[in-house]
Structures are given as C-alpha cells and as structure tokens.
C-alpha cells in the first residue's frame, strides 16, 4: 500500500523524536517557516536596496528596515539576510539534500508522473497537472501567510512548540485542524464523471 522504502509510523516516529531531541540539545528547536521571511528579504533587497538600511546607534552599526515586519525583533530577518550562511537558512537548505539522500539510499522514489500530479490528487481530480500546480501555489501563499502571522508552522509550532507544552502552539494546532480537516474532506471528494 505504501511505496517501497517508506517507514511505518512507529519507526518514523522514533526517527523524528531523535532529530527533534538532537536539535533541542545541540542548537535550538526545529523550525522552517522563518526562512521564507529571510529569503524574501534577500530577494527584496536586490530589487530595492533601501529595504535594508545601516544606521549608527551609539557608535554601533545596526540594521533597520522601513518595512515593519522586516524591522521587528531588531530587524532579525534583515540581519539573517545580510549573512546568508546562518544556521536557520542552511538548516532548511540541507533539508532538500536530506530528502534527496533518502531517495538515493532506498527511500520512496516517486515516478515522473507522481512528481507532477500526486496519486492522491488524481484520485479526486483526475490528471490535471496545472490544477495541482495552481492549488499548490495558492496553498503556499495561504499557509505561509498564516504561519508567519502565527510565528511558526507544523515544524516550529506543532513538533517543537507542543513538545515544550507551549500554549501558543496548542492554539495554533487547534486552529489548523479546525479548518484543514473540513476543507480537505470537502475538496478531496469523488466527483461525478470526473474520475477515471
């Protein structure tokens, strides 16, 4: 039923615990969505250099931004964007390499077709690559808007946050499942004449 090489939930869960604990002990909790803000700042400042500015404060050079979001927490995103070789960004880029390594070492290997339209999507919509791409794109806009408003995503809030018993992360998780489950049940339903 699952592709060859996919781990069962218990083995996968234990592996996830090992990674999460290692991150908590060695550096900081797992997190991904912050890096979208860092990459955005990097792109933004190549188009409009004014978005990250250097200012002297008490003889020390500090970064500021006219954009309130980039400027928050002492312009943390601007500081990361000025120094791309930082832990958070390298961590997220390494995730791509990690998944690739998993494919190379006997993990699930999606077919060319599966890489365009996942089987679960075809089940309800048929073979419609551009519909899949459009939904992925719009979903990307919506998830990151929500994640950055909430200050974290599935990694930062759910895995890392709830493990620390953070109230904020419990609220986030409640919000996610309140909308995600009904929307998914409605969206991914059998459609008359639409299925092969």
């Amino acid at each position: 039923m699952y592709p060859k090489g996919e781990w069962d939930w218990l083995k996968g869960g234990l592996a996830m615990v090992a990674v999460a604990i290692a991150a908590f002990l060695l550096v900081k909790p797992l997190g991904v969505s912050t890096q979208f803000a860092v990459v955005d700042t990097m792109i933004w400042k190549t188009i409009d250099p004014e978005i990250v500015q250097k200012k002297e404060v008490n003889g020390k050079e500090v970064l500021t931004s006219p954009n309130a979001y980039i400027n928050k927490s002492h312009a943390a995103y601007a500081r990361a964007a000025e120094n791309p070789l930082n832990y958070g960004l390298i961590f997220v880029l390494a995730m791509i390499g990690g998944a690739f390594l998993s494919v190379l070492t006997g993990g699930p290997k999606p077919s060319k077709e599966e890489r365009r339209v996942p089987e679960g999507f075809q089940r309800y919509f048929g073979h419609k690559p551009w519909l899949r791409y459009a939904l992925a794109f719009v979903g990307g806009i919506v998830t990151l808007y929500g994640a950055r408003l909430a200050g974290g995503c599935t990694s930062g809030h759910m895995i890392s946050g709830i493990s620390q018993t953070a109230v904020s992360s419990l609220l986030f998780a409640a919000g996610v499942f309140i909308t995600a489950i009904p929307t998914a049940i409605w969206l991914y339903r059998k459609r008359g004449g639409n299925n092969q």
């Binding site: 996919e6 996968g12 998993s102 459009a134 979903g139 998830t143 408003l149 946050g161 904020s168």
Partner: protein, 191 residues
C-alpha cells in the same frame, strides 16, 4: 561548527520527513481527510515522546534543553485557521514542501514560490495587522504561558498553568498523546 550542525540536523530532518512519507501530498491529503491516520500517529507519537524526553532531561540536567516558546496572542490561533485552509489546498506545509523539492516534486516548486509570495504579502500587511486585536495576548499579562513547569528561557522560567513538577505534567500529557497514537485506527473514512 554551527553550520555543520545545520547541515547534519537539516539533512536528518529532510531525510526523516521523506522516509515517513510526509513529503508525499497523497499522504497529507489522506491525513487531513482522515482516510489514512499514519501521519497523525507519527505526529502524536513524536510530540508525546519528545515532550517526555525533554522534560526528563530538563529535570536531570537543568539548562541542557534549548527551549524557545512563541508568544500566545490571538493571531496565533487565526494564523492557524488560515494555515489550515492553505494546508488543505496544497497538501503541503513549509517543511514538507521544502523537503519535497529534494525528491523532485514539481508541485512543491509552485508551493515554495507561493510561500515566498504569501510571506511577502504578510510583510506588506504587518503594519496594519499590528494595530488590530490579533496581537492582544490570550492571557493578560502573560506573553508566553506553558503547561509544564521548568521551561527556562534566558534565565527566566516561563509561567506554567499546571502546578505539578514539569516532568509529571509532561509524562501525563505526553503519555496521553502516545497512547492516542497507538489506539487510533488505521483510518476513519474511506479514500
């Protein structure tokens, strides 16, 4: 050293997300429409076990765990509601979307591009959002509440809502999550 850790930990995280099938939108569609509870089990088990382990280590070796808790304002809940909508539409989330690039999924490219646009839109609307009730704290005067005792961030313990030893709260709460992972059926609905 830190960059080496970033490569090792990030690589391991991407590897595990791929191996458990979380980078596969099919698995996420089935998770959200409750037609395959495998990933629910992974998440419940991982969170529960990580919680118990963290608070045990924290009791034995205070200061060894790098806690980092986000503030609880109403925007976190609203952000979650918005996130859930997008999660269903894309059947990907930020971490799984990025890792899915590593197995060559084309839809993940569109997801990540969309994510950059969504973050940009948030940055543009931040000043306006900051004036709304979204940034009011859920518990007045307590920016970062936690359930369990012993969560120390920068030398200060965060206020805990449950007045039991931290390891015990973690054991009860984490144990319940782990038990749920084991008792949940394979699926609740048909595909």
């Amino acid at each position: 050293m830190k960059l080496l850790l970033a490569i090792i930990l990030g690589g391991a995280f991407g590897f595990v997300l791929h191996r458990i099938g979380a980078t596969n939108p099919t698995r996420l569609i089935d998770m959200l429409r409750l037609s395959d509870l495998k990933l629910e089990k992974v998440i419940l088990f991982s969170i529960g076990t990580t919680m118990i382990t963290l608070f045990t280590i924290n009791t034995l070796f205070p200061g060894a765990v790098h806690f980092s808790v986000r503030a609880a304002y109403w925007g976190v809940f609203v952000g979650g509601l918005i996130f859930g909508l997008g999660f269903a539409l894309s059947a990907l989330c930020p971490g799984t979307g990025v890792a899915a690039l590593g197995e060559g999924r084309k839809d993940a490219v569109f997801y990540v591009l969309g994510g950059l646009v969504g973050t940009f839109l948030l940055a543009l609307s931040w000043e306006w959002l900051a004036q709304t009730a979204l940034f009011q704290l859920v518990i007045d005067g307590t920016p970062k509440p936690v359930l369990a005792e012993g969560v120390v961030v920068r030398g200060h313990e965060l206020p805990a809502l449950i007045h039991l030893p931290g390891w015990l709260t973690a054991l009860i709460f984490g144990g319940a999550l782990i038990a749920l992972a084991f008792v949940l059926p394979r699926k609740l609905r048909d595909k």
